[in-house]
């Protein structure tokens, strides 16, 4: 096993690639009580067009299929069902689907090795039938309706839809009712065989356990199973223009306080900087400009334009980054004008930069308090950066005002899509 050390934080993660291609990450501490285990496939909602394993032609599958598959993988042919199995030892199980991955997980203090083996088993031995695929459609349709009723969810859906032309991040993770109704067993089989191959998956165990015993149990479990030959999955490429789709939209629905999103679309290829570092700088720039410690925030509150600070959401969509400034306010027009004015000339002091570096360092150390956050941090590192960075504190400490000003110069702050969600009168 290899060790990845986190400098200054004084922690480490063990890593090993198994013979079947699966990656395993282990983080163990003897004063932790609970365990958190995730099993992830690099298959999320954005992978709609690809060449299935063992085939040579590109196919297109309905949107929302990754999330649908997540629901179905949870159904086993024979009892106990996963939630019952885990409950026997007081563990809870869950799963979620994002744009780029689907993750199955459990958390619980006891019976860890057996539970890890079971997690691998249930995800690797699914049971799809025409009937059970059909019966899931009602449940997922309910879930779609629930999102459609939530103004904030509607806002987030439109941020991507109005900013992106071809990039598959534009579509919702869950799909539409039409998409869901066109899913059948065959589609699920194809996606499962292609994306749930061990070489496209990784296991992360965080908690309190014996590392050697754990890796041996995992190896024994995986060696006893047969898989198709590993092959590189071909995903359809797309060209995404730098312009937004829709510069402005007002959405009318059942909501009390209007919601505003001001979305800046930034192409990645403009920057000659590692993504992780670029993201740190973007976080720093927008938090200094708009968060609770900013002069902007103080002014906007004093003038009763906002009551809570603007929230900055940074979404990495592979080809582009979407930065969304989000707020709830009746005075959304005034707020829009203020934001535009603020972004005209940006001046950031090195004192503010140094303060925000302290915040970033603190965040990293705080993450190691919580097994769930450690686990998620490992998943995110693999999904977005393809590696785990042990020198993150050093990277934060190396951030400087020259690089920061260079980035500000390169951003086109006028490449924007604005969305307002307000009451339908």
């Amino acid at each position: 096993m290899k060790k990845i050390k986190f400098n200054i934080i004084d922690e480490e993660v063990y890593y090993e690639k198994l013979d079947n291609g699966m990656d395993v990450y282990l983080f163990s501490k003897d004063n932790f009580h609970n365990n958190y285990v995730t099993f992830t496939t690099k298959f999320g909602s954005i992978y709609n067009e690809f060449v299935p394993i063992g085939k040579d032609k590109m196919i297109k599958v309905p949107k929302g299929v990754a999330h649908f598959l997540e629901h179905k993988v949870f159904i086993q042919e024979y009892d106990p069902q996963p939630s019952d199995f885990f409950a026997e030892s007081g563990a809870l199980t869950n799963a979620y689907t994002t744009f780029k991955n689907t993750t199955y997980l459990f958390t619980g203090p006891d019976n860890l090795v057996e539970n890890v083996k079971y997690l691998l088993d249930f995800v690797q031995e699914p049971y799809f039938t025409d009937e059970n695929v059909e019966s899931e459609k009602g449940i997922i349709t309910q879930e779609i309706h629930m999102c459609d009723d939530r103004p904030i969810d509607v806002l987030y859906e439109h941020i991507r839809k109005n900013s992106l032309h071809n990039n598959p991040f534009k579509d919702s993770i869950i799909g539409t009712v039409n998409d869901i109704n066109s899913i059948d067993k065959k589609v699920l089989d194809t996606c499962y065989e292609t994306f749930y191959h061990p070489s496209n998956m990784f296991l992360v165990v965080t908690g309190n356990f014996n590392v050697d015993e754990m890796i041996n149990a995992i190896k024994e479990n995986q060696n006893s199973k047969k898989f198709k030959k590993e092959n590189k999955i071909k995903i359809k490429e797309y060209k995404e223009p730098d312009e937004v789709v829709l510069k402005e939209e007002i959405i009318k629905m059942n909501t009390n306080i209007p919601k505003l999103a001001y979305n800046i679309k930034i192409p990645y290829n403009k920057f000659k900087m590692e993504k992780r570092k670029l993201n740190l700088y973007l976080y720093i720039i927008f938090s200094i400009l708009f968060d609770d410690s900013s002069l902007f925030n103080e002014r906007a509150k004093k003038e009763n334009i906002i009551t809570n600070a603007i929230y900055t959401n940074i979404l990495n969509c592979d080809s582009h980054i979407l930065i969304s400034l989000i707020n709830e306010t009746f005075k959304y027009n005034e707020l829009l004008d203020m934001i535009k004015e603020e972004l005209k000339t940006i001046n950031i002091s090195s004192e503010d930069l140094e303060r925000k570096k302290k915040v970033l360092v603190s965040n990293e150390i705080f993450s190691f308090e919580n097994i769930e956050i450690i686990n998620e941090m490992i998943i995110d590192s693999i999904i977005f950066d393809n590696n785990i960075e042990g020198n993150i504190i050093n990277i934060i400490n190396s951030l400087n005002i020259e690089e920061l000003n260079e980035i500000i110069k390169q951003i086109d702050f006028k490449n924007v899509s604005t969305i307002i969600v307000k009451k339908d009168k």
Partner: protein, 423 residues
Amino acid sequence: MNYELINMGAYNLHLVKTNRFKTITVEVDFRREIQKEDITKRAVLKEVLLNSNKNYRTERELIIESEKLYDLKLVASSARMGNYTNISFKTRFLDEKYTEKNMNEESIAFLMDIIFNPNIDNGSFNEEVVNKCKNRIEKSIKSLKDSKLKYTLFKLLENVKDKPYSYNSYGYLEDLEKIDGKVLYDYYKDMINNDFIDIFVVGDFDSIKIKELIKKYFKARTYHKTKTNIIVEELPIIKKIIEQSEEDNVNQTQFTILCGINNLTEFERKYVIKVYSELLGGSSNSILFDTVREKNSYAYYVNADVKSYDNTLLIYSGIEPGNKNEVFKLIKKCLIEIEKGNFTDDMLNNAKETLIGGIKASLDSPSGIINNYFAKILVGTDNFEERIDNFRKVTKEDVINVSKKINIYSTYTLEGVKQDEEN
């Protein structure tokens, strides 16, 4: 982990020493018997104290200071616990081992400064600050309807007059109007002087030093407090269930049920009723979830939640419009099935193990640890090990007995009237 409870006269100091964390957590709780007209004042007060201070006049200065203290986290919250209302000021900061010398003292001093050194001119909180915070509370009161479930549960409980759980925990617009800097400052002094106070510290510290620091910076010096029973009086058992509903332009119907719980023994309140609630609707392997969602596909979610201080059990679900009567029938059937003992030992065991797993997991978070010791002071909750043993002792007969003490009192339905044709 080592726990020490020290009676400091004006307050209880709870020290929990553990090497589990790289941070130190300090929580200060003020509580008293709940009065409906106090809820809004307390909501505004906690905002005001976190907004302005003699040393850090503006919210911005306050935040900049906390970021300089390596992003010390500071939150204030107000909540109801049975018949009590509680304001809690909580800070969590990096242990100085990871930052600089004296940061522990500076961080504790900062928290106490927030509580004891507010921005007062002439016996009144600064009016500008008070107005800003009132706006914020007004917004949170108005936002209740944005969460369909919260709103429906609120309407369900609001209909039970005179019980503290019928109060709107966000506050009331009509009470908000009456609040100004003077009113609020009088209330603040009243709170500091007359509330019960508990202070919790969790981390890898030197107990003697921490005790000295708290003594040095915590300035409440009062001893007259009125004790009240935390447990809310039971609901009467009624023959006809009170059913109410309203329509809304939503895709999903929210259906909520209030049940009264009568005549619990102490063991039942601490253990059996929690097992019952978990078995009925705690998670995705509960009886409700299995019947209403999985077998009948009527609902996206259905849960049960016991409020043991309130003597109530809430059942809530998000369902397809038009299916309310069917779902209600199924839920009632689930309640009867438990009374008849129609559940397996495995199901019972799973519910117990889930609760035990939750206790163990709570040891990994400072607030989990604090909640446990707080409950010990409030209702004599047992120690971690005893709780685990006692949950294991709960039998099928215990659950059947407790199930007979549960009576449906009322329902509230937010009926969806829009069908989405486009999708």
